[in-house]
């Protein structure tokens, strides 16, 4: 239970969680701002006129049936997919549409994929080392040395994600849930301002889910977190504000109770909710 305790006072225990002097300017409102975004694949509109605002420090859950455009939305934010129309701003200073993936990542947007992707040939420790916020240009990377400070930081994250005993094991041998945590750990090493988490609890046991919920709710406040999830039980347990996507645009937004009573949402979505929550 040391984890729980430490999470309660995390900003004092974990210095890496203390707010960074970030280049992101959030004085004038939200940290992420998507306006009228449309993406077309071969005539099919995966995202249709999407408007979404995420406030600084907010924990937002995004739900929606398959094909609603959740993953595509994340692809747009992280620079993997370019929208056909619209604009995406990070803070009020950075136009994300003009940047590539590493630039966006170094601005402080971290992403966890739906399918956990860790570097399987590298050890857990090395996975975290690579993810750590540092000078990621070539020569500094070549000459980088392991210092005590870095080691401590990695150790702390190892504790947070509960993988201390597996630190020297190659990530390839981790279980599915452990890989999910390692990936979250890698996000933490990046000290992101905005975390995009795609289906964090897919394939997890009840217990693992609980721990993940703690982890995510603990992060919110200092960092903005966007969680895309299918599992309604899990969403209910962490959500403060929920956005429902349908056919590439926002169908409803509000607290979990608000959206689950929205007649539109009930019509297109909540039929499936019962099944999934069961």
């Amino acid at each position: 239970m040391s984890l729980l305790q430490s999470l309660k006072a995390r900003d004092r225990v974990f210095d890496f969680m203390a707010p960074d002097a970030s280049p992101v300017d959030v004085r004038h409102g939200p940290i992420l701002y998507m306006e009228d975004v449309t993406v077309t694949f071969d005539g099919f509109k995966a995202i249709n006129n999407l408007n979404l605002t995420i406030d600084d420090g907010e924990l937002r859950c995004i739900i929606g049936p398959n094909g609603a455009g959740k993953t595509t939305m994340m692809d747009i934010i992280t620079g993997k997919t370019r929208p056909t129309e619209g604009s995406v701003w990070f803070g009020s200073r950075h136009n994300l549409l003009n940047m590539n993936e590493p630039e966006i990542a170094s601005l402080g947007i971290g992403r966890k994929f739906q399918k956990p992707t860790v570097f399987e040939a590298l050890s857990v420790f090395e996975n975290l080392e690579l993810a750590m916020a540092a000078d990621k240009r070539i020569l500094p990377t070549l000459t980088a040395r392991m210092t005590g400070e870095i080691k401590d930081r990695i150790d702390e994250v190892l504790q947070t994600i509960g993988l201390v005993s597996l630190r020297y094991q190659p990530a390839g041998i981790l279980s599915h849930g452990q890989k999910q945590w390692l990936e979250i750990g890698m996000l933490l090493m990046q000290r992101p301002r905005l975390l995009l988490v795609d289906e964090p609890v897919a394939g997890m046991t009840e217990q693992e889910m609980e721990r993940t919920a703690e982890l995510l709710t603990g992060l919110a406040g200092k960092q903005s977190v966007v969680v895309v999830e299918h599992d309604m039980g899990f969403v209910r347990s962490i959500a403060r504000k929920v956005t429902v996507l349908h056919q590439g645009s926002v169908l409803a937004e509000g607290s979990m109770d608000q959206v689950s009573n929205d007649p539109n949402v009930v019509e297109v979505y909540l039929g499936a909710d019962d099944e999934e929550a069961a």
Binding site: F41, D42, F44, A46, T72, D75, K80, T81
Partner: protein
């Protein structure tokens, strides 16, 4: 020279068609006057070329029906005199001992040593005279081919004395081609004389000799004729340019069709299945060798053998393809780089098998008669028929593949397995079977390409190697997984290559095309016609 010619022609005319008629009917019955004939030949064996020229004229003026044979033999250097003074015609001068025949009686005399024979020598001027003389004689030949050849030879060789007789001949001639040629020959004469009629008749003619005549007329004294000739020349040049353009396009499309044939099988195995088969070229080679083998089995019937090779080549290549798929590729599923290496090893083995099993040297595959020769469009443009057949064949193969992929159950299953293997499987599609069939199809098409290639290039163990890089380039350039892309890419690369060749040379043109594709792929990694959509975004 003109004088000889006209004399010869006059003499022939005097005799009229009786000569040819005689040659046919009386040759066997009337014994040749051998003393006179010997005298004619004797006159050739003198030192002075001028005297020889006169002797040739004398032969032409004689009504001896052997005249043409003598002249031809003289022209070929086969008319020789044995040490005992006998004139002989050498039948084959390739070996050490030459089989000869008596020049007078045409009776074979067995073999003679080259040392016992003395050639009746001629020089270049005489050679030209002989050719024209033979042409004139041939104009009266009953053999159509001979008349055509000789009429073509007369272009630019006509002089004032020949014009009238030729004009008469034109009226008598049945064959339109001979008539056209003869009229051209007369027109060239007129044009060179600076006569308007000749210039007008030559307007639009693409024959090089006609151009020479026109440019002479353009420099003539009469300004009106000169202007007309200049105008005619300009239009001819224009016309030639167009024809050259068409020719380049034709060669380009032909090269392109070869590329398409070579690449289309890859477009199936690589583009659709994602399998890198470096032995694809060797499957083509096997197709080409199947054709050769067929022709060995059916000697004397190259056409039939070629037609049978189409299914046989497909089958052989498809079977070898299946063997490769089962023995190697299936174990390397999802590891394209390893597949590349392993199939490259197979390509080495197949090449070496052919080298040791058949021969390291190139084999000759005969082109059947209906595919040889060329389609003459006009004097500046003739299209070789074998290339046309291959072009058509490539389009047929492409259409067939499109049909299979779009309209058959197999095509549907292939597309399903490509897009989502697990899903397709769960819907009852036997993915392994689809893999085998698809690979057999792609390999079989490589075999077809080999059958076609055997008609255009050398058939040897390296045949496949020469095409593998090109075919991969075509597939990647066109957009992987897109058959239309392969077609467009293959044809356009062929044309680009041919357009570049005249000013860059063949090798440099190829280099330029390669560099162009390399740069193009940097710009558009997914090729000309990329697959779009979510599936492709991965």
């Amino acid at each position: 020279m003109r004088r000889f010619l006209s004399l010869a022609l006059l003499c022939c005319l005097l005799l009229g068609f009786t000569l040819t008629a005689q040659a046919q009917t009386e040759a066997a019955t009337s014994p040749p006057n051998d003393t006179a004939a010997l005298a004619l030949l004797d006159a050739l064996d003198v030192d002075s070329y001028r005297d020889k020229g006169e002797a040739i004229t004398a032969i032409l003026q004689s009504d001896d029906e052997r005249a043409r044979d003598w002249l031809q033999a003289l022209l070929d250097g086969r008319l020789q005199r044995a040490d005992d003074g006998q004139f002989v015609v050498v039948l084959d001068n390739s070996g050490r001992e030459w089989p000869v025949a008596d020049a007078l009686t045409n009776e074979p005399l067995g073999e003679m040593s080259r040392r016992d024979l003395n050639r009746v020598g001629i020089n270049n001027a005489l050679r030209n005279q002989l050719r024209s003389a033979i042409a004139v004689v041939d104009l009266y030949s009953p053999n159509l081919e001979r008349r055509r050849t000789s009429a073509a030879r007369l272009l630019g060789e006509v002089d004032s004395e020949l014009v009238e007789p030729i004009n008469e001949l034109i009226l008598e001639e049945d064959d339109s081609q001979v008539r056209t040629r003869l009229s051209q020959a007369v027109a060239i004469y007129h044009a060179e004389q600076g006569e308007m009629a000749g210039v007008e008749a030559l307007t639009g003619s693409l024959h090089p000799r006609a151009r020479v005549a026109l440019s002479r007329a353009a420099n003539g004294d009469d300004p009106v004729v000169a202007d007309a000739a200049r105008a005619a020349l300009v239009s001819v040049e224009q016309n030639l340019k167009i024809n050259r353009g068409i020719e380049t396009l034709y060669f380009g499309l032909s090269l392109g069709s070869v590329l398409v044939l070579a690449a289309i099988g890859l477009a199936i195995t690589f583009g659709v299945m994602g399998v890198i088969n470096m032995a694809h070229g060797e499957l083509m080679m096997l197709g080409a060798y199947t054709t050769w083998m067929m022709q060995q089995l059916l000697p004397g019937q190259p056409g039939l053998a070629l037609v049978l090779s189409i299914p046989a080549g497909f089958l052989v290549a498809a079977l070898v393809g299946v063997a490769i798929e089962r023995s190697v590729i299936q174990f390397l599923k999802g590891r394209p780089l390893e597949t590349l290496l392993a199939t490259f090893g197979i390509s080495l083995i197949l090449q070496q098998l052919v080298r040791t099993g058949i021969s390291p040297l190139n084999r000759t595959v005969i082109t059947p008669e209906w595919m040889s020769g060329s389609l003459v469009i006009n004097d500046a443009l003739s299209l070789t028929i074998n290339r046309m057949v291959v072009l058509a064949f490539a389009l047929v193969v492409f259409a067939g593949l499109m049909l299979i992929m779009r309209r058959t159950r197999l095509g549907l299953e292939v597309r399903a397995v490509t897009q989502n293997r697990a899903m397709a499987r769960s819907m009852g599609i036997r993915a392994t079977r689809v893999d085998i069939l698809t690979f057999a199809l792609g390999s079989g098409v490589a075999g077809l390409a080999g059958v076609a290639l055997s008609q255009l290039t050398n058939v040897g163990p390296n045949l496949g190697q020469n095409y593998i890089i090109d075919s991969f380039m075509v597939v990647v350039f066109g957009g992987v997984g897109n058959l239309w892309g392969t077609l467009v890419a293959g044809l356009s690369l062929g044309v680009i290559n041919q357009v570049l060749e005249p000013w860059a040379g063949a090798v440099l043109a190829k280099i330029i095309v390669l560099v162009f594709i390399i740069l193009f792929i940097q710009k558009r990694p997914r090729g000309l016609f990329p697959q779009k959509g979510r599936a492709a975004e991965g």
